[in-house]
């Protein structure tokens, strides 16, 4: 511990802390340009100069480590002058084209010059220009599909290059030339094209790197930032929607160190066009004479409820079925299952439309293997070994991918085993390619290698010797030996793989969609658990098997009981369980199910056998689809109800690690569309049931009461990053 004084205030900090961090703790602001706490400190901008007693020259606060008895001044005339000087130097070559610059209004340089800079310039010479096209006056250059560079504005802090190199682990952005001619550029004709490129626009303290989609759209001060959660994947990054009136202009990160550490992938950052898309459903549609035509809400609701009642009355409530979705909020899902269980009176609900091979439903008590993530996202970066199995992490979970890269930077080993090569293989100590559907054979090979070479930790694993013998017999059978040949992985590869595994202090295994929808998914997951046990990591903090769901609220959908055999909170159903999606399709074919209500899902595009689904769903008397766009499934529907996008409703998403996060409404649902929960309420009320929820808050309150794993969560504090609810 070190005691030092900053501006007359004493503070005790840990050894190795920088002056900047210590000042931050005291609430003293030291301006910076090149500093970013996720990046290596370079001390390039000299903006954070402070006076340290007994050191004749000013020191950079970001890189100077504190020492005992240090006396720091951040407001002395010398410091003030130095800041003024640094800013004047920066402005020598800054074009001051703030009126056309998209950063104007949130520019760090603008702000700091306002606060610390001089109000006049002494510079009369011409300014530096990086001429892109000699014929044009404008030096903007598109350096990637999303990024536009204007080097004239650059202050050479190199945060962008450092981000791309360190955080994203890419090398498609670099610094060229030297001194005042320093240029941030791509390699010739190789545009910056990685899924994290959008972050450089947010990181850039000036308008040197700006995003193409936001280019010249609106001034930032005319927009309003709504804090919410990204709907693209299950990682649940915290975002801000910048909107004006009924339109989203851009999305930026709302830093949450537990989830995203302040970075977003390009899909989340730029993929919001669907919200304001002209093809959005605006009115309810009813199929009349083979053609979908617009109908008013009351007529549609009446039509739907009377058909439902009719079918229920004729052939019983089990001839209706509901399909939920991992893309809508917990509240909508909760209401959906409540609608089916209490209003219709059937357990025929499911949301798993993307796979024929379903994992068993989890239980509250056991919360067993087949359930989401065992570890938190943050723990991934702390693990010594990460095994990515059957997952293109960069595409499926870009933010978890960043943690893996971070772990790699910290010195952890990365093992990747996939049917196809992924971009993560660059970092892999051992990147294996097995043939598709041979995961079990491959894992058996690995287990056998461990057992045969006696590399397992007998004490820690907790296996009895007979159990080990069973396992050995299983993996060493002649069948499995032969099968190993089919995986296409050589014995020496398995050996080095096992070497890495047994040496690691902690192991995190990440399984993607490939494993979850695998026909042998249960077997694979069991093998992985055996692997963790054999290496003695089953009870360790930074170890475990993690299944990564696909959709933004897949976890929450499970939690809310969109399952044929579980109520919200995985409470086992007392009576006969309902049908899952596969069985529903069979029942439709047998004529047992006459009506289906699909909310937010698109089985036609997601289910492995498209033609089968298409022909099956076509047999339904009533196919009610509730979505925001005309999906493939909606095209064959009898009735379509227009729902609201994530920006248009309140609610909660539970991300892949079980973190319940709040979505906030940015604006009202488009045209005549309604929030999904509201539509369900309308249907239930039309069928004579009291669904009196005024806001999603009421629904969430009921959910916390009903579901044991959500109990105690508080809606009001849910959105604050420090207090986010975590599923128990």
């Amino acid at each position: 511990m070190v005691t030092l004084t900053i501006d007359g205030k004493q503070i005790i900090v840990e050894e190795g802390t920088t002056i900047l961090k210590a000042a931050e703790k005291l609430g003293i602001e030291i301006p910076t340009f090149c500093y970013h706490d996720q990046l290596e400190t370079v001390g390039a901008c000299r903006m954070c100069l402070v006076e340290v007693e007994k050191i004749p020259k000013l020191q950079v606060a970001c890189a100077t480590v504190v020492s005992e008895g240090m006396v720091v001044r951040t407001d002395s005339p010398q410091v003030v002058n130095a800041r003024k000087g640094v800013l004047e130097f920066l402005l020598i070559n800054h074009p001051l084209d703030c009126p056309v610059c998209d950063k104007g209004g949130e520019c760090e340089l603008q702000n700091l010059v306002f606060k610390y800079g001089s109000d006049k310039s002494r510079f009369v010479e011409g300014k530096r220009r990086y001429i892109v096209d000699p014929k044009s006056k404008y030096d903007d250059l598109a350096i990637g599909p999303h990024i536009i560079r204007n080097m004239n504005r650059c202050i050479q802090c190199r945060k962008c290059v450092r981000f791309i190199n360190e955080i994203a682990g890419e090398d498609d952005l670099g610094t060229f030339k030297r001194g005042s001619k320093t240029e941030i550029n791509i390699l010739p004709d190789i545009p910056i094209d990685n899924p994290y490129s959008g972050n450089v626009t947010e990181i850039c303290p000036v308008g040197a790197l700006t995003s193409k989609s936001f280019r010249y759209k609106i001034r930032v001060w005319q927009t309003e930032a709504i804090p919410t959660v990204c709907p693209q994947c299950a990682d649940g990054c915290n975002i801000r929607i910048w909107k004006k009136d009924e339109r989203i202009y851009r999305i930026t990160s709302r830093r949450n160190d537990e989830v995203d550490e302040g970075f977003l992938c390009d899909k989340g950052r730029f993929g919001f066009d669907f919200v304001n898309h002209p093809d959005r459903l605006k009115n309810p549609l009813i199929k009349k004479n083979g053609k979908l035509s617009e109908a008013p809400w009351d007529e549609t609701i009446k039509f739907v409820t009377s058909s439902f009642m009719k079918i229920k009355g004729e052939t019983g409530s089990d001839s209706l079925a509901g399909v939920g979705s991992g893309k809508v909020t917990n509240e909508d899902n909760y209401l959906f299952q409540k609608f089916f269980r209490s209003v219709i009176g059937t357990n025929n609900i499911d949301h798993r439309v993307d796979s024929k091979n379903l994992l068993p439903s989890p239980d509250t008590q056991i919360r067993n293997k087949y359930f989401g993530m065992k570890n938190t996202i943050n723990q991934i970066a702390n693990s010594k070994l990460i095994l990515v199995l059957g997952c293109d992490l960069e595409k499926e979970h870009p933010i978890i991918n960043l943690r893996v890269i971070k772990a790699r930077r910290k010195g952890s080993s990365i093992l990747v085993a996939n049917p196809v090569s992924t971009r993560l293989n660059r970092f892999a100590q051992n990147g294996l390619l097995y043939k598709q559907r041979t995961e079990t054979d491959f894992l058996n090979g690995v287990l056998r290698e461990i057992i045969e070479t006696k590399q397992y930790d007998n004490a820690k694993s907790g296996f009895s010797s007979s159990e080990i013998e069973d396992l050995r017999r299983k993996v060493s059978s002649s069948d499995s030996l032969k099968a190993l040949q089919t995986t296409g992985i050589g014995a020496e590869n398995i050996k080095s793989f096992v070497n890495a595994l047994v040496k690691a202090e902690s192991i995190i295994i990440l399984c993607g969609a490939e494993i979850i929808s695998n026909p042998k998914n249960v077997e694979i997951i069991n093998s992985l658990y055996d692997l963790i046990r054999l290496t003695g990591h089953q009870d360790k903090d930074n170890s475990g098997v993690n299944l990564l769901w696909k959709h933004s609220n897949s976890q929450g959908t499970l939690d809310c009981g969109i399952l044929p055999d579980r109520l919200p909170g995985y409470v086992r159903i007392s009576g006969k369980p309902g049908l899952n999606f596969n069985l529903m399709l069979e029942a439709v074919n047998q004529g047992k199910i006459k009506a289906m209500y699909i909310m937010g899902s698109d089985p036609l595009s997601e289910y492995p056998d498209r033609e089968y689904v298409k022909s099956t769903l076509g047999k339904l008397e009533i196919l009610l689809v509730q979505d925001i766009l005309i999906t493939e499934t909606a095209k064959i529907a009898n009735v379509i109800l227009p729902g609201a996008s994530f920006a248009e409703k309140e609610g909660t998403f539970t991300n892949v690690e079980g973190r319940v996060q709040k979505l906030n409404k940015a604006f009202d649902p488009l045209a005549d569309s309604k929030a999904d929960g509201q539509i369900i309420c309308l249907l239930a009320q039309a069928m004579g049931h009291e669904f009196e929820y005024r806001t999603p808050k009421d629904i969430f309150k009921e959910l916390t009461g009903v579901s044991p794993i959500y109990s105690g969560m508080d809606w009001e504090t849910l959105g604050l990053s420090k207090k986010q609810g975590k599923v128990k």
């Binding site: 056309v100 044009s136 404008y138 903007d140 759209k217 609106i218």
Partner: protein, 165 residues
């Protein structure tokens, strides 16, 4: 009683004499359409948007005028032209809402918007009081391109910065 007499015999005649004197002073009325006041050089009338010497619009749609506007009467939408330059795709001023404070002119970093000397642009349709960019733009010589159809006043072609009085 005394006060009353003082009022009647002193104050009222005095007041009457004052008003009587004014009866013969020259009226200061300006008979408007025929005579016009000489405008102050700082008079703030109808806005106009200037052009560069090469004929391009000076306005880059930075939005500072709209931000400075206390009555919120300026609406704009930026866009990118074929040279990659920012320009105002839509630029509208609601002259009914405008209070002619001149803050927009003061805020403009490109010296593009000015408040001219025109004040005769009343209209009997509200929609016509929302001035589009074409209505506001002037030529490089300062001539207004499209004249607002004022009921009274001189016909088109007057420079908006000229004294109309």
């Amino acid at each position: 009683m005394f006060e009353v007499f003082k009022t009647i015999f002193l104050a009222i005649p005095k007041g009457l004499s004052v008003t009587f004197k004014y009866l013969f002073t020259k009226a200061i009325t300006v008979r408007y359409p025929e005579q016009k006041l000489t405008l102050s050089p700082r008079y703030r009338g109808l806005h106009y948007l200037k052009r560069n010497e090469d004929g391009s619009e000076k306005c880059v749609c930075c939005g500072l005028c709209a931000a400075a506007c206390p009555s919120g009467c300026i609406y704009m939408e930026p866009a990118e032209d074929e040279f990659g330059q920012r320009y105002a795709k839509v630029y509208e001023i609601n002259e009914l809402r405008c209070i002619f404070c001149g803050y927009c002119q003061e805020a403009c970093p490109k010296e593009a918007i000015f408040l001219g000397k025109e004040y005769e642009f009343s209209n009997d349709q509200r929609e016509k009081m929302i001035y589009k960019k074409e209505d506001l733009l002037v030529s490089i010589f300062g001539q207004r391109m499209k004249r607002p159809d004022a009921r009274t006043g001189p016909s088109g072609g007057v420079r908006p910065d000229e004294h109309s009085g």
